[in-house]
């Protein structure tokens, strides 16, 4: 008999597991895949290490900062700031036709860029900032209000609104076209007011610390242990049936499998309406270059591009992908400092919106060819906004919505989960709770905070 069973060994599940094991609970994390990390994972192919998910860790604050989600999660996990070896970004940009806003981890740069490009919006942007700093991400008032409406009330130039929304939607919006106000505030702060950073060794370093901590506290982690069903009696989940036939019992279950995915596991055939799963998925390519990106004139950490004045954030309807917008990221362009130096090879990662159904319906014979075709087309689209790197590419790897599904088992390969969040993490059962993207927080820091707060609220406070 466990105190808590956690479904999924991603960032949120591992963080929740650490909290509970820290306070002497018997905890077991069940992971369906053969590796940890979920959406934020890593793999090795043809002698190279690749990350899935992580472009940048958001919410970066310097050592010694007491406020903000990064400081909060380090305290909660009893980790040191140094453990994540975070190197800050060199600088990023939002690129639209004929106009570019640069930003870095100091909001003054963005403020100045806006004052130059949109002089009449300078003062209104200052007012907007004051409204955003005070949003309490633990209280989450007016969370589902329209962010577009809020922006229209504070800014006049529609192009500036589109440009501000572009990176925020790309890095954490599960809704099509519009964004929840609460999510907008959280993302705005995490990207523009706090900022980007990355460990030299990538996401594996963060995962390594989480797993080591969890195990050192006596936690049990089982890989290749998919959950077949959750057995329900009355209003409680009483046991978990694994795909291998084993039955495990626990007082609480915390699931990062997603809300619709979790309800489907419950054997009481819940009468509650199934929540709508998310539909935004991506393809992402990694191009390995024969030089550092800065040698071909690319020194940006991340470029969010869009090729018209209007930013479209929706599942591509008629094609496998939508090439109008994308994210270019180079893990080389962080300030790693003299002790680490440059990464061994140059990398350009490129993310493009994709249609999950179209990708999964492709016959096997066409899948590879389509991957190559969309790789070429998406790179051709991206080099409109950065130096052309195509003659420097020595290797590529591409993941599609099919890959995302394999790592996360989330419906539709939905990267940011369901459009309607379950902020309190509750379900129709008294001892079954959600954590991870469908609870509400996204990104690496967000997922960890989600796991921590759901574990605290539901499995520690009442124990």
């Amino acid at each position: 008999m466990y105190d808590t069973i956690i479904i999924g060994a991603g960032m949120s599940g591992l963080a929740a597991g650490i909290r509970l094991a820290m306070y002497d609970q018997r905890v077991c994390i069940l992971e369906k895949h053969y590796t940890i990390g979920g959406l934020n994972s890593f793999y090795r192919t043809a002698g190279r290490n690749f990350d899935v998910g992580l472009h940048a860790l958001t919410n970066y604050t310097d050592k010694g900062a007491k406020r903000g989600p990064l400081a909060r999660l380090l305290r909660q996990l009893r980790l040191k700031w140094e453990d994540f070896q975070l190197a800050p970004q060199l600088g990023s940009a939002i690129a639209f036709p004929g106009i570019r806003l640069n930003f870095n981890n100091d909001i003054e740069l963005l403020r100045g860029e806006i004052a130059n490009a949109f002089p009449s919006e300078r003062d209104r942007f200052a007012v907007l900032l004051t409204k955003l700093v005070d949003y309490d991400d633990l209280k989450q008032e007016d969370f589902e209000r329209s962010a577009r409406q809020f922006l229209k009330e504070h800014l006049r130039d529609p192009l500036l609104i589109e440009m501000l929304l572009c990176p925020l939607m790309w890095y954490g919006n599960a809704r099509e076209n519009d964004m929840d106000f609460g999510q907008f505030c959280i993302m705005f702060r995490s990207i523009f007011l706090e900022g980007f950073a990355r460990p030299y060794q990538g996401v594996r370093l963060i995962l390594k610390h989480l797993v080591r901590k969890f195990r050192s506290l006596g936690g049990e982690l089982r890989l290749r242990s998919g959950v077949e069903s959750i057995h329900v009696e009355g209003d409680r989940a009483v046991s978990v049936l694994l795909e291998n036939g084993e039955v495990l019992q626990s007082r609480w279950i915390l699931s990062s499998a997603g809300s619709v995915e979790t309800l489907r596991l419950c054997d009481d055939l819940s009468s509650s309406l199934p929540p709508e799963p998310g539909c935004l998925s991506f393809i992402e390519s990694i191009s390995v270059l024969d030089c550092q990106p800065k040698h071909i004139g690319f020194d940006k950490t991340i470029v969010f591009f869009n090729d018209s004045e209007e930013f479209h954030w929706a599942r591509p309807k008629h094609e496998l992908c939508d090439l109008r917008t994308g994210v270019i990221c180079s893990p080389n362009n962080y300030d790693y400092g003299p002790s680490s130096g440059d990464l061994d090879e140059g990398f350009i990662r490129l993310t493009t919106l994709a249609n999950f159904d179209r990708w999964t319906q492709l016959p096997e014979s066409r899948y590879r060819a389509e991957k190559m075709r969309w790789y070429e087309q998406s790179v051709a689209s991206a080099v409109r906004f950065m130096p052309d790197f195509r003659n420097r590419v020595v290797a590529t790897d591409i993941f599609t919505p099919r890959t995302i599904r394999r790592f996360t088992f989330h419906d539709n390969g939905a990267v940011y989960g369901a459009p309607r969040k379950r902020l309190d993490g509750t379900t129709h059962l008294k001892n079954l709770f959600l954590c991870g993207t469908d609870q509400g927080y996204v990104g690496i820091v967000g997922a960890i905070v989600s796991g921590l707060s759901m574990a605290n609220q539901h499995c520690l406070r009442t124990s």
Binding site: D24, R72, L138, L452
Partner: protein, 86 residues
Amino acid sequence: MTPAEIREEIIDILSDIAPDEDLTNLDDDKSFREQLELDSMDFLDIVMELRKRHRVQIPEAEYGNLASMSSTVTYLEPKMKEIVRA
């Protein structure tokens, strides 16, 4: 435990929660929230650590007593006086 020992124990818990924090100049009458910027998650940790280390139970309605060092020590004194320091 004497009030002085309880204070030491709280300092130990705080240094666990916020390892980068210099606690030598802590003002006992000022709130933790103000001095250390502790949030609601951190207060839960003080409660959980007291339960884990000393089996002291603090009902949620009484968390308010943990606002500052002096209020915490006053509140914990009757609950911890029988505890012999390890």
